[in-house]
């Protein structure tokens, strides 16, 4: 896996790079300190995982803007926010913008390792306190008590989804715009929209953001 770390504090980036290497998640890791460098690196490399700081300082794009840019330039990458501020509204904004995980910098080291592992295994990680304070209609039926790394597979959790719908959902969760999903899956945009409608009905959610919360809460192996 090829990863990119965007953080205005190089020591943190270096630490995170060491952690990813030690965990065996990625060996090929680029780091940079602002959004301009990040977008530049993105034009020359294909990344699978992008870990970005939520607040990159005055010279950079805002967290929301950067997520949108990254998803447009690299529709196949998973954009995960790593942030010192992990309040519910920041998390919500990041998810709305197209992020597919939110790791708080401020946890004990064991939780940080868990969060990075969960993310690398293809699950969506969101801070516990955010999941606790937001309610979900579909709660209960699928709540899993398994250890965090062994997530439920998407096809097991939602057998009602067709393989095609699962592919569409994964693309949408990754933050891909409908146009990119259509191109990736060789579908028309209208078909993608229809699939998404059916998927959200099956998951009992209204939109992509709600689906992200649901996947995180149910520890579903998405990617």
């Amino acid at each position: 896996m090829k990863a990119l770390i965007i953080d205005d504090h190089p020591i943190f980036s270096d630490g995170l790079r060491l952690l990813l290497r030690t965990l065996g998640i990625a060996q090929d890791i680029e780091t940079c300190t602002d959004s301009t460098q990040a977008l530049h690196l993105l034009q020359q490399n294909a990344f699978d995982l992008i870990l970005m700081d939520w607040q990159l300082g005055q010279q950079s794009l805002s967290g929301t803007e950067l997520i949108v840019e990254l998803n447009q330039l690299a529709p196949n990458a998973r954009v995960v926010v790593v942030s010192g501020e992990a309040d519910a509204s920041s998390v919500h904004q990041a998810i709305e913008a197209g992020a597919v995980g939110f790791l708080p910098k401020e946890t004990d080291s064991a939780s940080l390792i868990d969060a990075v592992r969960v993310t690398s295994k293809g699950q969506i990680f969101l801070p516990d306190h955010v999941l606790d304070s937001t309610h979900c209609r579909a709660d209960g039926a699928h709540t899993s008590n398994k250890s965090p790394f062994e997530g439920v597979r998407l096809e097991d959790a939602y057998p009602g989804l067709t393989p095609r719908q699962r592919d569409t959902l994964v693309c949408a969760l990754r933050g891909e715009p409908n146009k990119a999903i259509a191109k990736d899956l060789h579908l028309s945009e209208a078909t993608v929209k229809q699939h998404l409608k059916a998927i959200y009905l099956e998951l009992n959610v209204h939109n992509r953001a709600e689906a992200v919360y649901l996947m995180a809460r149910q520890r579903i192996q998405v990617f």
Partner: protein, 488 residues
Amino acid sequence: MTQQPVPVSDTTPHSELINTTDAVSRLVEEQFVDAYLHNSGKAQIGLLLSALVAGLIWNDRSHSIWPIVWLLLFAVVTGLRYFKTADFVLSTSGAGRIRRIELTLLVNGMMMAAPLSAFATYSELERVAISIILMATATASTTTTSGYRSVFLAFALPMLVPLALAWALMPHQDANWLSTWGISTLILFYLGFLVNVARQVAAVFLQSCQYRLGEQQTNLQLKAALDVADESNRSKTRFLAAASHDLRQPLHSINVLVATLSLRPLDSDTQEIIRLLDSVNQTMTKQLDALLDLSKLDAGVVTPNMSNHRLDAILQDHVQALAPVAATKGVSLVLDDNPDLTVLTDDVLLRRVLGNLTNNALKFTPRGGTIRLKLWREGTLAHLSIADTGIGIPAQDLSRVFQEFYQVDNTERDRSKGLGLGLSIVQRLCQLMGIHVQLVSTPGVGTTITTSPPPATRANCSTPAPTRRRAPSPASAPSSRNWPKKAS
């Protein structure tokens, strides 16, 4: 007339305020020009009617075409003055405008005096009529010129001085001393009287200008003070945002390095060192967070987002989240009563209050103890109590536990259990949200804290009832406001 000196603050960035006298005279000029242009239009109608009567009298006695020519000319001048005075005056600036007004009125006054050329031929009655017309016109001009002396005189002198001279030098055939020098002197007296009236009008006008200037200066000072306050507020917010972001960064870096280190193959002693390092880092992070939270609350940059919330739903969530922590500590957590209750509050901040209070209860309740949470109604008020069977607080310390950095029985200042900011934060948050807090404690028996949030308003409730849970949608998911973040 006295004028209070207008205090000029040292910090006022508007240097034009310093020279008050200049500012007043400039304002008086401006205001005078404004007032004159505003009044003179209406005055033209009266002036034209007066000229018409005077013209008719002149025409009766004269066998030339001059009265008619004069009347037509007067009508043209009136028209010009009505439509063009403003352009003429405003096309120059400063004192030039006053000169132009003087010139206009001088021409006008001289024209009004023209019927006096036939004064010798008038009967006594006609002389009186002409005199009344000219004197009335001069009188009216004291107010239309706001008593501005040079302007008033430019108009009145060309009318009243020739009038006085005409009475004195062109006596009627049956004239005695009264109808010549007598009337003439009275007219000059009257002129003197008008000058005095004009001076008083001018004084009132000046005073109103000074009041207005004072008001303008007060406004500027208020604005300057407001700018200073805004700026200091902004810099406070900037500092806190920078502090929250940057002071914590080294801790975050240590955190990720410790995490990485803990994954390396290490002997058991090194692992223990790593574990301690991690715990120190966590303590420091939490203390810094509490300190920054407190600073944010004191800086007034936290504004509660008040709306109606189901207190029972929030409490139930809270108890569910807390249950595993209590279980690990061997403390039983009991939710006694939880009736449906809606209150007016900020749910994010209220959850923090509950978090801090139950953390305290957990911290001071020994293994095997109990924490009871209870919600009840008393009239329109809702009460939520958290009672523990902890060590309790001695009576003499009850009033001090809300002070920042105060910890009961911690004279050695052992900060391993925090800085003692929890209750200070609770108190400030409760003040923000209008929550009444009551603390009852018996040493060795336990502590009960009761919070009473204000009752709900008649709006819709934004927290879902605990039985019907919703998916997070933009409307229902996390509050859009939280602790202030980086200033942008």
